[in-house]
Symmetry: C2
């Protein structure tokens, strides 16, 4: 059975204007590989209602899982929850269990439960909450769409709580082999290797370090035996690597 597929939707003007370097997609990409969910697309869009609705509909219908990051805080530009509700044509309002979680979180810390904070208890009907051990305000899952915070430590905590719930396939395994030569000088040999092993995926990633060209060769497979066979072939083809 093929692995389930996924997309990540990052929501926030601050990324499109170059103010913030997004890191949640990279973090989640690494986690999805470990549980055997194939990430097929990452998309970043701005804080604009119609764009979020359209992207949530497009990506949730074309992938098994959709993860979103950003736009669920207490301020006027936090519009993700309402957009996701509209995308799935569900009503949205303050939900009692989410309100209770926030109330308990603030009470324990002597923090005032303001009207703005109550905004974070607005949850689309029928959604399942995602635990937020960092700052209380929960994320939520509507059908296959998992809505999480943009602040990195909160996003990571939500992912940790969410992923065990989702069914993964076989993890994608990788082995790397580093060559201190330009990519072009091994391209023909690598192409021949890839052609000889149609069941494996071979990638080639050039880099520059201290003015010297190098290339990382990567072989990927879900089957560990096939992976090791491919890696052995890679090492045999390029004995000068490490």
């Amino acid at each position: 059975m093929p692995n389930p597929t996924a997309a990540i939707l990052i929501i926030g003007d601050e990324i499109l204007t170059g103010r913030t370097r997004e890191g949640n997609a990279h973090f989640l990409a690494g986690e999805l590989v470990k549980v055997g969910i194939d990430l097929r697309q990452i998309r970043v869009i701005g804080d604009e209602h119609a764009s979020i609705v359209a992207a949530v509909r497009a990506l949730s219908s074309s992938h098994d899982q959709l993860f979103t990051s950003g736009g669920i805080g207490p301020t006027h530009d936090d519009i993700t929850a309402d957009a996701v509700a509209e995308a799935f044509r569900r009503p949205i309002g303050v939900r009692e269990d989410a309100r209770a979680i926030l109330a308990a979180h603030y009470a324990a810390r002597g923090v005032e439960f303001t009207e703005a904070r109550l905004r974070m208890a607005r949850i689309p009907e029928g959604a399942r909450l995602i635990d937020n051990p960092v700052s209380g305000a929960p994320g939520f899952s509507v059908e296959n769409c998992h809505v999480m915070a943009g602040v990195p430590n909160i996003f990571q905590a939500m992912v940790a709580g969410l992923l065990p719930r989702l069914t993964g396939g076989a993890p994608l395994l990788t082995r790397s082999w580093q060559m201190m030569v330009p990519e072009a000088s091994i391209a023909d040999q690598l192409g021949a290797l890839a052609a000889a092993h149609p069941g494996l995926s071979f990638g080639s990633y050039p880099f520059v370090t201290e003015g010297r060209y190098g290339t990382n060769l990567v072989v990927r497979a879900t089957d560990p035996v096939a992976l090791e066979a491919g890696f052995a072939a890679l090492k045999a083809a390029f004995p000068e690597g490490q």
Copy 2:
């Protein structure tokens, strides 16, 4: 006249598998702001021909400019040039000017001009070359689609050569105001401020540093006078910031 719009398409399995943390989109986002081109979307997809063709068509037809990064090197997994040619329904082959650039580059460095390297002279018909002062192999523009390398220092050098060619609008200017308070505690006031200044964009970006919550408030405008008026209002509303 509104600013031109843009999208960035990043191509590479290594990003979707979490192996590489993508940085070219963040770099280009910062450059586009400076020249007044509004970045509306960043999309990351894998090294898959049909996906690249579909994404290039969708993003180039819905934005004034499309910038791509990745997949134009010499190896078998470098398939961007062929996919872009198909997206714009143009033939592709080795082009004499691109071949001459590569030949001169390698000759000057005593590097062999292999068959694999010749792959990098494959350019869609009618494309305009983008200079690569780092490693020779050019990028290219087909209509509104600008195809550049994924290696960061090459990508940045190509962007530097390309951007002056494109017509920009008014640069988006920003001013920031940092508060060492949680976002929720200023949400109501910020919402009121945004409502009172409909011509300006106010953003709110929470962060955590050394266990304390803080919030960066950002006002954005293309008109410097409007920007300063908005920033003065922001400072007046939140005198405890800095």
